[in-house]
């Protein structure tokens, strides 16, 4: 019995050593087994980290922000106005949460703090009452660290545990933090640049504007209603931490509320949206951070929406240019 088990043990050591070495070198050689299944959102962040030029403007948020801002449009518009090169990035990703925003300022911006950091301040980031709030599966899959997992595994949702273990040992995050032991999410090959601002243009951005109707979007009603009245202290702490880090790095933090489709408004629980707005304004005042609530300021045409919260390409183009004008004063500051 012993020779067989001994062989198996020694063999396994060989397998482990080679996989560990490949995994640890993977990031260095830009080497992946196959496409990371995140529609390229994480690839954009990876490219951001590799970019030598410091970023002037970084947007962050959920899919709403991802669909609302076209970095190339913002860049061209600002360059015309400022008469100098401008680096613009949209690092928003679907299902983003405040703790992911916190991860970004702590890790992604560590060596590359942007000049201006615009975070989506619509309810869908801070108070979406989603199934994946407050402990987001996205966070556990891609961003949490081993220590996070070890400290919080007792309180995290059971269904997030496999994702978390997978992400630490096998996922793209393991590659970034060079802590992975095994990896199967690798691929090689160039990543074609897309005009939509990321390396990959998510499929949802390619859709044409749809005629919107409340009755036709039950899924939206289910997933994205604003429901909670007592916004979490954890999120307040996240926002505070983000503001502190930004202040320390001389990054101007701006909270931006892109307007959602007005027909969504009646779907919110009574009083919830106002409570949220008050909460956000109160925090912004305390942290001395601008809160640009565009829900009551501007109104996009219905054809500019793809659904209740995501913009169609025409809407994103228009909104991107509008935001440029809002952000110019901050970029003009020394």
């Amino acid at each position: 019995m012993r020779p067989a088990l001994l062989f198996f043990l020694r063999f396994s050591i060989g397998v482990f050593l080679l996989f560990a070495a490949a995994n640890l070198c993977a990031q260095h050689f830009h080497f992946r087994w196959h496409q990371v299944p995140n529609h390229g959102y994480l690839q954009v962040v990876h490219d951001f980290q590799q970019n030598d030029s410091p970023a002037d403007l970084v947007f962050f948020g959920t899919s709403a922000m991802r669909n609302a801002i076209v970095p190339l449009v913002v860049k061209e518009h600002l360059q015309q106005q400022l008469k100098r090169p401008v680096e613009v990035w949209n690092l928003a990703l679907p299902g983003a949460t405040p703790e992911i925003a916190r991860f970004y300022v702590d890790h992604i911006f560590k060596d590359h703090p942007p000049r201006i950091f615009v975070i989506e301040a619509a309810p869908f980031l801070w108070d979406a009452d989603r199934k994946n709030h407050p402990d987001s599966e996205v966070y556990w899959r891609w961003f949490a660290s081993w220590s996070d997992l070890l400290c919080r595994f007792r309180t995290m949702r059971r269904q997030d545990l496999p994702d978390a273990i997978h992400g630490r040992a096998w996922g793209a995050e393991a590659l970034w933090l060079q802590s992975g032991l095994l990896g199967h999410h690798f691929s090689t090959g160039p990543h074609p640049a897309q005009p939509w601002g990321g390396v990959y243009a998510p499929e949802d951005l390619q859709k044409q504007p749809q005629k919107l109707s409340v009755q036709k979007q039950p899924g939206m009603r289910e997933g994205l209603r604003v429901g909670s009245y007592a916004l979490s202290d954890v999120w307040r702490q996240d926002l505070q931490h983000i503001a502190e880090v930004c202040a320390r790095e001389n990054t101007q933090l701006i909270l931006l509320h892109p307007p959602f489709y007005p027909a969504l408004r009646p779907l919110f629980a009574e009083g919830a949206y106002e409570t949220y707005l008050d909460w956000m304004q109160e925090n912004a005042n305390q942290l001395q951070v601008p809160f640009l609530n565009l829900q009551s300021t501007i109104r996009l045409q219905p054809s500019m929406y793809r659904d209740f919260i995501h913009y169609a390409p025409t809407g994103a183009n228009w909104f991107s240019q509008y935001v440029c004008n809002l952000l110019l004063p901050y970029l003009n500051q020394p």
Binding site: M1, P3, F8, R10, F11, I13, F16, F19, F186
Partner: protein
Amino acid sequence: MVFNSIVFLLFFPSVFVGNTLLARWPVVRKSFLLAASYFFYAQWDYRFLFLIWLSTLVDWFVGSALGREQRPHARKYWLWFSLGVNFGLLATFKYLGFFVDSANALLETIGLHGNLPSLRLILPVGISFYTFQTLSYTLDIYFRKAKPHHSALDFALFVGFFPQLVAGPIVRARDFLPQLAKNPLPKREDLSLGVYHVLSGLFKKVVIADLLGHDLAQPFYSQPDHFGFFGAMSGIYGFAFQLFGDFAGYSQMATGFALMLGFRLPENFRNPFMARNNLEIWRRWHITLLTWMRDYIYIPLGGSRGSKAQTNRNILLTNLFSGIWHGAGWNFLLWGLVDGITICLSRAYQQMRKTAGFLPTPQDPSWMIWSQRFLTFHIWLLAMPIFRTRNLEHLSQVGRSLTRLHPTSTAAAIPSRGLLLLALALAMTIISEYQGPRIRRFWLQLAPELQGMACASLLGLCGLLTTEGSPFIYFQF
């Protein structure tokens, strides 16, 4: 669950550890292997376990009865009972649709309305393989080449042993049951060699077969009208090596896994494309099926003991049977017939050379050896489109593409990766023929850690190049 899947990567080490830890208790160990084998099979469809159990039970009891029964009539009835059940299973699940469709087509041809009902049954994976295995047990006992085995557990494990259950090699009871009785444990050399076979088979399947299928064979056979001569030939070559890589790869992996568990399976492929005549191809390709056909069909029919005409008849019948074994379709029958004809012609040619005192030897000049190999391979290759195509119309499209110098569509470009893989497959075949034993000796000398690294490298390469868990072609048989 296929061998080249992540799930199997978790399954096999568990079985290996269990097999090793339970080695001291043979009955427990074999029960564990049997349970693991049934679990493996149930991943396709647990309902078809009943068919394996039926085949196992029937042939176990028939074998016991044949061992006790001495009267020729009674023995014959028992044999027919076993044949009836096993071929009945095959006829029902594999051929019923074909028979009914053919009968309907025949009725239509003679002006009658063919409306016979047909059950569209799912083909149970591996049915052609395990029924032949159980039949080999009863036939050996009937022909008094073996005695009934004392252990039902051993017999059940012989039938259901997972490495060879779904796509061979077809194991003979008289070869495998004695191994089970001895309760063998894998030695260090067996483990190393087992890993070598698994990796080699995986490379053949995942890198050669799947990619050649994707790059050359599939594009050509799906649209033969688009291709000219060179594209057609690359598609035909591609399919030949795809079929070989797929099937030989699977067999080799099965051999490797069995070896790591302590059991030896028979060799199933021996570089068939290095054969110097068509007779020799069939001693190197799917060896276990061909030897089964030889022992249980060709020889009982009379073999080569009668006249030349009788021998040729026996060869044709055996090959027709081999053809229909591969699939329920007229193209398989035709393919079997064509193969039978080439074997008869090859035999006649060898006879002529023997009469002239000019038989091939290993000392023949290289140009002669290589030209014989070239010719043999291409004669065999020309029958491949019959095997691959769906019907006569499809076959004629393939034929027309061979007569066309230029492709008719820009979509018929031959990918360079496919041609490189073809060259690689050819190189591997040649290297394996001449340096195979040396490579194996070198491998056996490597430390297990280095073997593990080689395994990880290959798994990584497979992960880079392919998608996980692509099925094996011979599962459909």
